[in-house]
C-alpha cells in the first residue's frame, strides 16, 4: 500500500473513477435494455467505491474507513442486483420484453 500511494498520485484514481462514473451515466441514459441499465448502475457504484478507497488510502490509511464503506457498498449492490434482476425477470415473463421504453404504464 505504501508503495502504491507513493508511486501513483491520487488524481489518477479520481480520474479513473470519474471516467467509470461517466460511462455508467452514459449507459443508463442510452441503453434500453433493463439488464444493461442495471450493469451501468453497477459501474457507477464501483466508481464511487474506488473514490472511497482512494481517499481513505491517501488521507488516513490507518483508519480503513473507506475500505469498510466499499465493502458495505458491495454488499448493498449484491442485494440490489438480486432484487432488480428478479423484477426484470418478472417484467420479462409478463410482457415478453425487458425494454424499458415499452414498460411505461405508470404515467398520467
Amino acid at each position: 500500500m505504501e508503495a502504491v500511494t507513493q508511486q501513483i498520485p491520487l488524481e489518477h484514481f479520481l480520474a479513473l473513477s470519474a471516467i467509470l462514473f461517466s460511462l455508467g451515466i452514459y449507459g443508463v441514459l442510452t441503453r434500453r435494455n433493463a439488464v444493461l441499465i442495471l450493469m451501468s448502475v453497477e459501474l457507477m457504484l464501483n466508481a464511487a467505491s474506488i473514490n472511497m478507497v482512494a481517499f481513505a488510502a491517501y488521507a488516513s490509511p490507518e483508519l480503513f474507513t473507506g475500505m469498510i464503506f466499499a465493502i458495505f457498498i458491495i454488499t448493498v449492490a449484491a442485494a440490489e442486483v438480486g432484487l432488480a434482476l428478479a423484477i426484470i425477470l418478472r417484467v420479462y415473463r409478463n410482457r415478453g420484453t425487458a425494454n424499458v421504453d415499452e414498460v411505461s404504464d405508470l404515467k398520467w
Partner: protein, 632 residues
C-alpha cells in the same frame, strides 16, 4: 354551619347536575332522588344559615354588615387578582330562603307532574343546575361570579322553556327568552367592565364603596348604571323586554313556577336591589327605574285582562308584580320591594303549581275550555283561590301586606301612587276572572272535565304548604312577628339595616286599596258570574281596545318587523359576503388552484425510465454547478 359556609349551597345541586348528566340513565328512577335530595339539603342548610344569621343579628345588632368568604381564583402578579367568594347579608338571606323553599316545592311537585316524561332525567338535571346558578348568583360577592351565574340562569331557562322540544312553539319561545334577555345581558357585561376599569376591582361592595367615595367619573357611572339596568330589565321582563315572559309559558308548568317565583325574573330585582346605592348616585337613575316599573305595571295589567290561556294570565300578573318591585326600588324603598319579592314567591309559585294541577288533570290550559273544576279538584281550587286573591291584594293575605308596603312608600309621589292605584282593580279583576273561568260555572269541555281529578300527594302537598305560607308570610312585616321568630324586628327592619324601615300601616291607604280591589273582584263577579252576557257585549263595544290588548300592544309585531327589515337585511349582506368572499374565494379558491397546478404538473410523469434518469442527472449536475459557482 354558619354563614361563611354558604358556598356549599350552590355546590350541592351543581353536584346533582353532574351526577344526573353523567349517570342519569343508569340510576334508578333516572336519579330524581339525587336532585330532590340535593335541594332538600340546600333547604336544611339554609335553615341553619338563617339560624346563624339570627344569632349574628342578636349579637351585633345594627353593626352587622354581612359575612364575606372568598378564595383567590387567579392572579397576574402586579396587575390583577381575581377572587371568588360569597357575601351573605340580609338581602342574601331573604333570597336564599325563597330560592331554596320554592325550589324544593317545585322539585317535589315535579315528581308527580313530570312523571312519565321522556326526558325526565334531563329535566331534573337542568332544574338542579338552574337552582345552583341562582344560589350562586345571590351569594356572589363579585361581579364576575355574578355574571357567570347570571348567564347560567339564562341558559338553564332556555333549556327548560324548550323542554318539549318536539313543539315548534316551545323551541321558538326558548330562543325568544334567551335572545331577549341576552340583549340586556350585553349591557350588564359592559357595565361590569366599565366599573372594573374605573375601580380595578370586581368586588361588589368595594365598587359601591368606591362609587360612594366619588372615585368613578359621572359619565362612566351614568353609563354603567344605565347598562346595568338594561341587564336587570331583560332578566326581570320589564318593558320593553317583557315580551319573552308570556311565551316562556311553553315550558313545563313547574318550570314556569320556578322561573316566575324564585329564580330567573327576580334575579333582575335582586341585582337592582344590590346596586341601588350606585343607581341613586346617578341623577335620574331612580326616576328611570320608576318610569320603567310604572309602564310595565300598567301594560301588563291591561294585557292580563284579555288573555285566555290560564298560564299566560298568571305570566302577565308576574310582569305586573315585577313592575311593582321596580316601582318600589325607584322610590328608594328596597325593603318594600324585598318584602313583595318574598311574599310574591310563595303565591306566584302557588298559582303556577295550581295551574299545573289543572293542566295535568284536564290537558287543557285555555280558560274557554275549562270551568266547573271546583268540585272535581277541591284542594287545587282552594289553594289556587288563595293565591289568586293574594295576587289581587285581598286584605290579610300575603300580597296585601306587601302591596301596602309599596303603596305607603309611594305616598310622596302622587303621580306614581295614582297610576299604581288604577292598576289595582285591573289586577284584581283578571285574577278573579281566571279563577272564576277555571273553577266555577258550567264545564265548557265536558269530556276533559269528566276525567279531571286531583293529582298525587307529590302535587297536592306543595300546594297546601305554599297556600299556608301565602296565608301567613305577609305578617313578617310586623315587628311583633319578627321578634317572635327571634329577629330584632319585622322583615323591613332586617333588610337594609342602614336604612331601617319599620312597617307602617296607613289605615287610609289600606282601606282605599281594599275598596279598589273589592271593586275589581265585584266587577269580575258581575261580568263572568252574574251577567255572563256582559263580556260579549262589552267586547262588541270595545273591540279596538280588546284587540290592542290581545295583540300585546302590537309590540311583538313591531319587534318582528324590526327583525325582518333591519336584522335580516344586515344578515343578508353578511350571508352574501360569507358565501362569496369567505366560502367561494377563501376556501374553494386555494382548492381549485391546487387542483389546476396538479393538472399542469402531472404531464411530467411520462412513465419512461430514461426521462426520469435524465431528470436526475440534470438535477445533480445543476446542483454541482451551483455548489462550485458558490464556492468560487
Amino acid at each position: 354551619m354558619g354563614m361563611s359556609d354558604a358556598w356549599l349551597l350552590p355546590l350541592l345541586p351543581a353536584a346533582a347536575f353532574v351526577a344526573l348528566t353523567l349517570l342519569g340513565p343508569y340510576l334508578p328512577r333516572r336519579g330524581d332522588w339525587i336532585a330532590v335530595g340535593a335541594i332538600g339539603g340546600v333547604f336544611v342548610l339554609t335553615l341553619l344559615i338563617i339560624a346563624d344569621f339570627t344569632d349574628a343579628l342578636a349579637v351585633q345588632g345594627e353593626a352587622f354588615a354581612g359575612v364575606a368568604n372568598s378564595i383567590q381564583w387567579l392572579e397576574v402578579p402586579g396587575h390583577l387578582e381575581l377572587r371568588l367568594g360569597i357575601h351573605v347579608d340580609a338581602v342574601t338571606i331573604v333570597m336564599l330562603a325563597v330560592v331554596s323553599f320554592v325550589g324544593l316545592m317545585v322539585q317535589v311537585y315535579s315528581l308527580g307532574y313530570m312523571k312519565g316524561d321522556s326526558r325526565y332525567g334531563w329535566y331534573y338535571a337542568v332544574i338542579s343546575l338552574f337552582i345552583a346558578s341562582m344560589l350562586a348568583l345571590v351569594l356572589a360577592d363579585n361581579f364576575l361570579l355574578l355574571y357567570f351565574a347570571w348567564e347560567l340562569v339564562g341558559i338553564c331557562s332556555y333549556l327548560l322553556i324548550g323542554h318539549y322540544s318536539h313543539l315548534r312553539s316551545a323551541t321558538e319561545a326558548a330562543k325568544k327568552a334567551f335572545i331577549t334577555t341576552r340583549l340586556g345581558d350585553v349591557g350588564l357585561l359592559i357595565a361590569i367592565i366599565l366599573l372594573w376599569r374605573e375601580t380595578g376591582t370586581f368586588n361588589i361592595q368595594e365598587v359601591i364603596a368606591a362609587a360612594e367615595a366619588g372615585q368613578i367619573g359621572t359619565e362612566i357611572l351614568t353609563a354603567s348604571v344605565v347598562l346595568l339596568l338594561l341587564g336587570a330589565m331583560g332578566k326581570s321582563a320589564q318593558f320593553p323586554f317583557h315580551v319573552w315572559l308570556p311565551d316562556a309559558m311553553e315550558g313545563p308548568t313547574p318550570v314556569s313556577a320556578l322561573i316566575h317565583a324564585a329564580t330567573m325574573v327576580v334575579a333582575g330585582v335582586y341585582l337592582v336591589t344590590r346596586m341601588l346605592p350606585l343607581i341613586e348616585l346617578v341623577a335620574g337613575g331612580p326616576e328611570l327605574l320608576l318610569a320603567i316599573g310604572l309602564l310595565t305595571v300598567f301594560l301588563s295589567a291591561t294585557m292580563g285582562l284579555v288573555m285566555t290561556d290560564i298560564k299566560r294570565v298568571i305570566a302577565y300578573s308576574t310582569i305586573n308584580s315585577l313592575g311593582l318591585m321596580f316601582v318600589a326600588l325607584g322610590v328608594g324603598a328596597p325593603a318594600a320591594a324585598m318584602v313583595y319579592l318574598f311574599t310574591h314567591a310563595f303565591f306566584k309559585a302557588l298559582l303556577f303549581l295550581g295551574a299545573g294541577s289543572v293542566i295535568h288533570a284536564t290537558e287543557r290550559q285555555d280558560v274557554s275550555q275549562l270551568g266547573g273544576l271546583w268540585s272535581k279538584m277541591p284542594i287545587t281550587g282552594v289553594t289556587f283561590a288563595i293565591g289568586a286573591l293574594s295576587m289581587a291584594g285581598l286584605p290579610f293575605l300575603a300580597g296585601f301586606w306587601a302591596k301596602d308596603e309599596i303603596l305607603v312608600s309611594l305616598l310622596d309621589n302622587r303621580a306614581a301612587f295614582v297610576l299604581v292605584l288604577v292598576t289595582l282593580p285591573l289586577t284584581a279583576m283578571y285574577m278573579t276572572r281566571v279563577l272564576i273561568l277555571t273553577f266555577f260555572g258550567e264545564p265548557r269541555d265536558p269530556e276533559s272535565h269528566e276525567h279531571a281529578h286531583e293529582g298525587s300527594p307529590f302535587m297536592t302537598v306543595p300546594l297546601i304548604l305554599l297556600a299556608a305560607l301565602t296565608l301567613v308570610s305577609g305578617f313578617v312585616v310586623f315587628d311583633q312577628v319578627g321578634k317572635a321568630m327571634g329577629f330584632p324586628g319585622g322583615i323591613g327592619e332586617i333588610i337594609f339595616l342602614e336604612r331601617a324601615h319599620s312597617f307602617e300601616f296607613d289605615v287610609a291607604v289600606g282601606i282605599g286599596s281594599t275598596l279598589l280591589v273589592a271593586l275589581g273582584i265585584a266587577t269580575a263577579w258581575f261580568a263572568w258570574v252574574a251577567r255572563p252576557s256582559v263580556p260579549a257585549r262589552s267586547l262588541a263595544l270595545l273591540r279596538p281596545v280588546h284587540d290592542l290588548w290581545a295583540n300585546k300592544y302590537y309590540l311583538d309585531d313591531l319587534y318582528q318587523a324590526v327583525i325582518d327589515r333591519v336584522v335580516l337585511s344586515i344578515a343578508r349582506v353578511v350571508a352574501w359576503f360569507d358565501r362569496n368572499a369567505v366560502n367561494d374565494t377563501g376556501v374553494d379558491g386555494p382548492a381549485y388552484a391546487t387542483r389546476y397546478a396538479g393538472y399542469l404538473m402531472k404531464f411530467q410523469q411520462t412513465g419512461k425510465l430514461p426521462n426520469y434518469a435524465l431528470g436526475m442527472v440534470i438535477g445533480v449536475v445543476t446542483l454541482a454547478l451551483v455548489a462550485f459557482s458558490l464556492k468560487a
